[in-house]
C-alpha cells in the first residue's frame, strides 16, 4: 500500500498526474513530494506511485 496525504491507498502503480487529477487539483497549483523529495513537474506524467511510497500532494489556493 502507498500512503498518499496520510491515507493508505492501493496505488496500483498509477501515474502521479492521475492522482493529481483525481484529487481535483491543477498541476500548475501543486507541489508533490515523494518520500520527502520534491518531484519535478516535468516528471508528473512519467512517474508511477509504487507500494511503500509516501506521497504528499500539496494543492495551493490563492490569497496572501
Amino acid at each position: 500500500m502507498a500512503k498518499i496525504n496520510g491515507e493508505e491507498i492501493n496505488a496500483k502503480n498509477a501515474l502521479v498526474i492521475d492522482f493529481i487529477k483525481e484529487k481535483g487539483y491543477s498541476a500548475e497549483r501543486v507541489a508533490v513530494m515523494i518520500n520527502g523529495e520534491i518531484l519535478p513537474k516535468a516528471d508528473y506524467a512519467a512517474t508511477r506511485i509504487s507500494d511503500s511510497d509516501e506521497v504528499e500532494i500539496v494543492g495551493f489556493v490563492g490569497g496572501g
Binding site: E28, R29, V30, A31, M33, G36, E37, I38, P40, K41, E56, V58, G59, F60, V61, G62, G63, G64
Partner: protein
C-alpha cells in the same frame, strides 16, 4: 529614540530562559512577497531579532492593501520593498533588510534567496506559490521553505494550522479557503497565517 543593539537584544531576550536574540541575529531569512503575509511575517521576524531579511516583491503599496498589510496610508505609491525597509528600520534598526524589487518565479528564486536558511513563501497567487515551492526545493537542497495556503475570509482562526510536509517543507493555512471564492481577505485571518509562518521560522532557528 536612540538605542544600542545591546539594549535591543536585552529587550528581545527579556522574560526568556534562554537567549533568543543571539540566535536570531545569525539568521538569514527570505520573505517572498511583501503583501498581507509577507509584510506581517517580516515585521514579526524583525521584532524577534532577525539579523538579515531578504525581502522581495515587484509591487507598489496601494489603498486596497491597507485592510491587511503592515503599510500605512503614507506608504501608498511606494515600492513595497522600500516601504517594508522603512517600517523595519523603525522596529529593529539592527535588522539588515536586503531588498529585491523583482517579480519572483521558479527560475530566479534560487539566486534571489541564495544564502537563506529559511524562505517564507508569501505570495497571493496560487500558481506563483506552486512555482516558488517547486523551483526553490528543487534548486536548493538545504533551504527550508514555509508556505502559506488558505487564509481568505474572516473567523475560523483555529482552522489555520502548520503542516509538516517534509523535514524542510511546511505549509500554514486552512489549505482550502481560496480568495477567488469571493470571501475577501482580512488583517485578522491573514495575520493568523503569517503568525504561523513566522512562528515556525523562529522555532526552526531557535531549535537548530
Amino acid at each position: 529614540m536612540e538605542i544600542t543593539e545591546e539594549e535591543f537584544a536585552r529587550a528581545v531576550n527579556s522574560r526568556s530562559k534562554f537567549p533568543i536574540y543571539e540566535k536570531m541575529k545569525g539568521a538569514v531569512i527570505g520573505v517572498a512577497g511583501l503583501g498581507g503575509l509577507g509584510s506581517n511575517i517580516a515585521c514579526a521576524l524583525a521584532r524577534s531579532g532577525a539579523g538579515t531579511l531578504i525581502a522581495a516583491d515587484f509591487d507598489e503599496v496601494e489603498l486596497s492593501n491597507i485592510n491587511r498589510q503592515m503599510y500605512t496610508l503614507k506608504h501608498i505609491g511606494m515600492k513595497k520593498t522600500q516601504a517594508i525597509k522603512e517600517i523595519i528600520s523603525e522596529i529593529n534598526p539592527f535588522c539588515k533588510v536586503i531588498t529585491h524589487d523583482i517579480f519572483i518565479d521558479g527560475q530566479n528564486c534560487a539566486e534571489i534567496f541564495n544564502g537563506c536558511e529559511i524562505v517564507c513563501e508569501a505570495f497571493d497567487n496560487a500558481e506563483s506559490k506552486a512555482a516558488l515551492v517547486n523551483g526553490l526545493l528543487l534548486s536548493n537542497k538545504e533551504v527550508k521553505l514555509i508556505s502559506g495556503s488558505g487564509m481568505a475570509g474572516f473567523g475560523r482562526a483555529n482552522d489555520i494550522t502548520t503542516k509538516t510536509v517534509s523535514e524542510r517543507f511546511f505549509v500554514c493555512g486552512d489549505m482550502k479557503t481560496d480568495v477567488s471564492d469571493g470571501e475577501g481577505l482580512s488583517a485578522s485571518r491573514v495575520m493568523v497565517c503569517a503568525g504561523h509562518q513566522a512562528s515556525k521560522a523562529v522555532e526552526l532557528i531557535l531549535n537548530r
